[in-house]
């Protein structure tokens, strides 16, 4: 059925677009030349990253604002790292996770980003620069961004100990993950990571099958079960890896796991179909389950969250117009529109101040301040995510980000860890 009202408004919108296009064209003819300098030579930036923030709306808006075209190259987290290491000339802009830097930076394939050319560099949230939220330090086990965000120089293969003028990545988006649960099927409060391996949920639990992230979730479980306290979950010794994997294998042999999952959609399907009632999960995946009308909670736990963060990097060989275009994109990204867009999806943006200016006060109150929604909360594409009156799981920005326990990490014993993880999968 077509809604006549909608159709009318769509026509009106199309009309408006046509008119503004005509006006623009008239302007060009009137002055006899194209306004922006970009028009002289079209710049196309190849943007390598995961699909998470490769939103068509962002590329369209940026092109409308600046005339520069963004060409998305969407691959998974591991593949981004692999390409950065093995084919650094296949992209003009990289969007990767901070923990990958330990592999990428020593190759010299990334250029330090000059913060003097980034307008809002000094407004980037302190979570990245000093590891603080609301004046309090958060957990820094694993590859916390503050450890790897500064480089010693523009052409450096080393991380700087203290803040410098050059950043390895300019943060784009970050969040903190926890367990997702089906409250309608569990029917009791869940408060701790140890519930993931509780025999009560035998055959109904799932864990992430990305070794570097799954091992961190497993470590949170091991610690909450009181089996062991890690000096640094993000950098385990071989013995600690053995212990963690053994715990997982024992649980697997007892039939604890229904499935393991590797991508976003898999986790949504497992949860929505009721195959799994408790699993490690990403915040937007919980939102996706909920938008199907199925009860699902992104459960805050007393041990805290496992955080992750991604950012823009520039390949070392980038120069000339493309380099200017890339800087322009990063500046545009931090300028608020994209930040507001990401915040509305349930992620967090790097510069909060500019994003706030582009969000409605009721949206800001719901997403960032943990207040009840004053009216229905909608996703950027207009889908209702939450009814008025509801509060966001986990509360405000400070409550959520302040409760970070550890970060996604790359361990020194990575090869050994992957090998042991394969053992878990084969068990």
């Amino acid at each position: 059925m077509t809604d006549p009202k909608n159709e009318a408004s769509a026509t009106a919108e199309a009309d408006a677009k046509r008119r503004s296009l005509l006006k623009g064209a008239a302007g060009v003819f009137a002055t006899g030349m194209f306004p922006a300098v970009h028009a002289q030579e079209k710049i196309v930036l190849r943007y390598l990253g995961t699909a998470v923030n490769q939103d068509k709306a962002i590329a369209d808006k940026f092109k409308a604002d600046t005339g520069i075209e963004i060409q998305y190259v969407a691959v998974n987290t591991d593949e981004v790292t692999k390409r950065a290491v093995t084919s650094p000339n296949s992209f003009d802009l990289i969007d990767t996770e901070y923990f990958s830097l330990k592999k990428i930076v020593p190759t010299g394939n990334l250029k330090g980003i000059d913060t003097k050319k980034i307008k809002n560099a000094d407004k980037i949230t302190t979570l990245f620069t000093t590891g603080m939220v609301g004046g309090k330090a958060v957990g820094d086990q694993g590859t916390a961004p503050k450890k790897v965000i500064y480089l010693e120089g523009e052409k450096s293969k080393n991380f700087a100990k203290a803040p410098t003028q050059f950043m390895s990545l300019i943060p784009t988006v970050y969040n903190a993950d926890t367990l997702g649960i089906r409250p309608d099927l569990i029917k009791r409060p869940i408060e701790s990571w140890k519930e993931l391996l509780n025999p009560e949920f035998k055959g109904k639990a799932a864990i992430l099958n990305i070794p570097s992230i799954g091992i961190m979730d497993a470590a949170m479980v091991v610690e909450s079960m009181g089996l062991y306290k890690y000096p640094d979950k993000g950098n385990m010794t071989k013995k600690e890896i053995d212990l963690t994997i053994k715990t997982l294998i024992d649980a697997k042999k007892a039939g604890q796991f229904r499935s393991l999952w590797k991508d976003f959609n898999e986790s949504v399907n497992l949860m929505a179909s009721g195959e799994v009632v408790i699993q490690s999960m990403w915040s937007p995946a919980v939102t996706a389950v909920r938008s199907k009308g199925i009860a699902c909670v992104f459960q805050p736990l007393k041990e805290g969250y496992r955080a992750w963060a991604a950012g823009f990097g520039l390949p070392a060989t980038l120069s000339g117009k493309k380099l200017d275009g890339a800087y322009e994109f990063i500046n545009w990204f931090l300028d608020g529109w994209a930040g507001a867009y990401l915040n509305r999806q349930g992620y967090y943006s790097a510069v909060l101040e500019t994003a706030k200016a582009k969000m409605e006060p009721y949206e800001w109150a719901y997403w960032m301040e943990g207040k009840p929604a004053a009216q229905d909360i909608k996703s950027p594409n207009g889908q209702v995510l939450e009814k008025a009156g509801k509060v966001r799981d986990g509360g405000s920005y400070e409550q959520r980000m302040g409760a970070i326990a550890c970060w996604n990490a790359l361990m020194d014993e990575n090869t050994y860890m992957v090998q042991k993880w394969n053992e878990f999968v084969a068990a």
Binding site: N76, D78, E79, T81, K82, V85, T86, K103, I104, P106, T107, G203, N209, P211, S212, K252, F257, R258, S259, L260, W261, K262, N269, S273, G274, E275, N414, T415, V418, Q419, W421, N422, E423, V425, A426
Partner: protein, 292 residues
């Protein structure tokens, strides 16, 4: 008969194809074998010479009481290959037999053959995923069983298990068995069957002593297809096994995604050796070159 001065010499005619083979098959293979002997390093490939990667793969494999990951993985992959091979052979042979000997008109044969290929009109992944809503805890089959009162709680072993993996393999690859067998059956001289009948052979005797031996090239080609595909598959095992069942391909994929190329290359060489052994063994049973 020898034709001279007629067109370019034979070696020149074979050159383009040989070059394609050299660049896209031999060279990568040699490279993989070479990299498998390089030392493991996280972010760069350093040429070298070490057997460390192979040692890592087979570490602890001498203890048969508690098999190492490599042995366990190969065992699980091999058993999938065998189970799938047995079922697809049975199904493929039966369907091909029906098409070749029981369907009389050529039009009908063509039509039914096309019907068999219908599943191939959608992608591999879609055919695989379509099993999920059917076999799941709240899936159609379980709902049906509950409604009929055959079970009082959902059956769990149908999804994310060895069963669902083999079922999907059979669904995906029976065609690879069917086509070559059908092809060999169509080339069987019908008068041989009549002769067998005249000589007083029963239906089963004709099947076993005439049809099966004359279809063996098709059976062999189909078997090679199915076994090599299943040995290298990791997507089906991943999706249908709930990522909880190891496969050799999956291990290689995980290692390449963590940039452990030398280890992955060593694993690939081992897998290649195993598959080649199987193919050689099958060729011992039927001399493919002479039969074709």
């Amino acid at each position: 008969m020898k034709v001279e001065g007629n067109g370019p010499p034979a070696w020149l005619q074979a050159l383009p194809f040989a070059a394609v083979f050299l660049f896209f098959f031999i060279a990568p293979l040699v490279l993989v074998a070479a990299v498998s002997l390089w030392p493991t390093s996280d972010y760069e490939l350093l040429p070298g010479f070490t057997f460390q990667n192979y040692a890592t793969i087979f570490a602890g494999c001498a203890n048969l009481a508690e098999p190492c990951v490599t042995l366990k993985t190969y065992w699980s992959t091999l058993s999938f290959a065998l189970e799938t091979w047995a079922v697809t052979l049975l199904l493929g042979f039966a369907i091909a037999y029906f098409l070749a000997f029981h369907v009389r008109s050529a039009t009908m044969q063509t039509l039914l053959f096309v019907v068999c290929t219908i599943p191939f009109w959608t992608s591999n992944v879609i055919r695989m995923i379509s099993w999920l809503p059917l076999l799941g805890r709240n899936g159609l089959v379980n709902q049906g069983l509950l409604w009929l009162g055959l079970v009082d709680r959902p059956v769990e072993w149908m999804l994310f298990s060895g069963f669902s993996v083999v079922l999907t393999f059979v669904h995906l690859y029976t065609m690879f068995m069917l086509v070559p067998i059908f092809n060999s059956m169509m080339r069987i001289d019908r008068s041989l069957l009549e002769a067998a009948d005249d000589a007083g052979a029963s239906g089963w005797q004709t099947l076993w002593n005439v049809v099966v031996p004359l279809s063996r090239t098709g059976i062999l080609i189909g078997s090679i297809f199915v076994i090599t595909i299943v040995m290298g598959d990791f997507v089906t095992v991943g999706v249908m096994g709930g990522q909880q069942i190891a496969s050799v391909g999956k291990i290689i994929q995980v290692q390449t995604s963590y940039l452990q190329f030398p280890l992955a290359a060593a694993n690939a060489v081992v897998l290649l050796a195993v598959v080649l052994l199987i193919v050689v063994a099958l060729n011992r049973l039927v001399d493919l070159r002479r039969e074709l």
